[in-house]
């Protein structure tokens, strides 16, 4: 199988380049990450992140044949050759397929990704009804792989100011949580011309999410709740 991989080492190269590789797949090579592991056995200078190798940690998010995916859960079967692997678009490249996620996580921390509740804690835990818990479905599953934010044109245009789909999905996750008491502050924080309202509902985020979540829907819910609060 033929591969074309984005190579860039800022210490050695002035410009990035695509390097071609040929690989004989083994019987147990089913996913793109399997092939990458084998390629690294050939050329140990290829840089990429990976950890859990089963779609849970989100560290091996990359652009595969023009679409952001997780290498560990993307089947090799059916991929057009040469399989072109690039780093997540719109993010600064550290080396090869490794990108700098600093800004991504800064945006994530800005939305205060934790429950804010200053009421005295109950003896055991803050309970939710099954209905209240159900509201978190489709939100809590986000693994922060950045496939969505990196594929969002609004994020490319305003990377510093627009929080991006991943952070906004997480914001909705805490806004809607019945145990959280900071909903007005959270909504007020997001009522900003850049932080939330740069979203043009292009829906690339929903299209590429490897966990089949819909950040676009979460963003729409935040807007609706802001309207209800202000109306």
């Amino acid at each position: 199988m033929r591969f074309r991989i984005y190579r860039f080492d800022p210490d050695k190269q002035a410009k990035p380049a695509l390097q071609d590789y040929e690989l004989q797949l083994g019987p147990s090579d089913h996913k793109v990450l399997d092939a990458l592991e084998r390629l690294r056995a050939q050329d140990d200078s290829i840089g990429y992140r990976r950890s859990c190798r089963e779609g849970v940690c989100g560290s091996d998010a990359m652009n595969i044949n023009g679409r952001n995916m997780l290498a560990c859960i993307t089947p090799l079967a059916g991929l057009r050759e040469p399989v072109t692997l690039r780093p997540l678009p719109g993010f600064p490249v550290i080396r090869d397929l490794i990108v700098d996620m600093t800004q991504f996580f800064r945006h994530y921390h800005e939305i205060r990704p934790y429950l804010v509740n200053h009421e005295p804690p109950p003896e055991r835990e803050r309970l939710q009804s099954p209905e209240e818990r159900d509201k978190l479905n489709g939100l809590y599953e986000c693994i922060l792989c950045a496939c969505c934010s990196s594929f969002c044109p609004s994020q490319w245009w305003n990377p510093e100011k627009f929080l991006g789909p991943a952070a906004l999905l997480q914001a909705e996750r805490f806004i809607i949580d019945s145990r959280d008491r900071a909903t007005p502050e959270r909504l007020a924080f997001l009522d900003d011309v850049y932080k939330l309202y740069r979203c043009r509902t292009i829906m690339n985020c929903t299209e590429v999410c490897p966990k089949n979540l819909s950040p676009a829907r979460a963003i729409e819910h935040i807007r609706i709740q802001q309207l209800r609060r202000s109306g």
């Binding site: 609004s154 245009w157 305003n158 007020a188 009522d191 900003d192 011309v193 850049y194 932080k195 939330l196 309202y197 740069r198 043009r200 807007r223 802001q226 309207l227 202000s230």
Partner: protein, 111 residues
Amino acid sequence: MTLLSGQRAFVFQRLSALVLLAYIAAAAVRLALGAPVTLAQWQAWAAQPLAAAALLVLALALVAHAWVGIRDVVLDYVRPFAVCVTVLGIAATGLALLAAWSALILVSHAL
């Protein structure tokens, strides 16, 4: 809502879109029932107080809708900040003049 609220523009854009849609639907019905043919007939139609008022609302909704659209494009693409503010200022002035001109024409014909 804060001064730099994104929500205000979001609401303006949707409300103005509703006005535009309502006008298009009403105009389609009106034209289906018999459209003015000559220029004089069009002028006479536009000079009726109700038609002139509806046209004025349409013009204002169109300007508001265009403003939010232009503002979004400028905020997304135009750098640096000083150039962005200048382009927004020019766009706002142009749209305001357009709205005032439309209002002037409609009011002068309707009176």
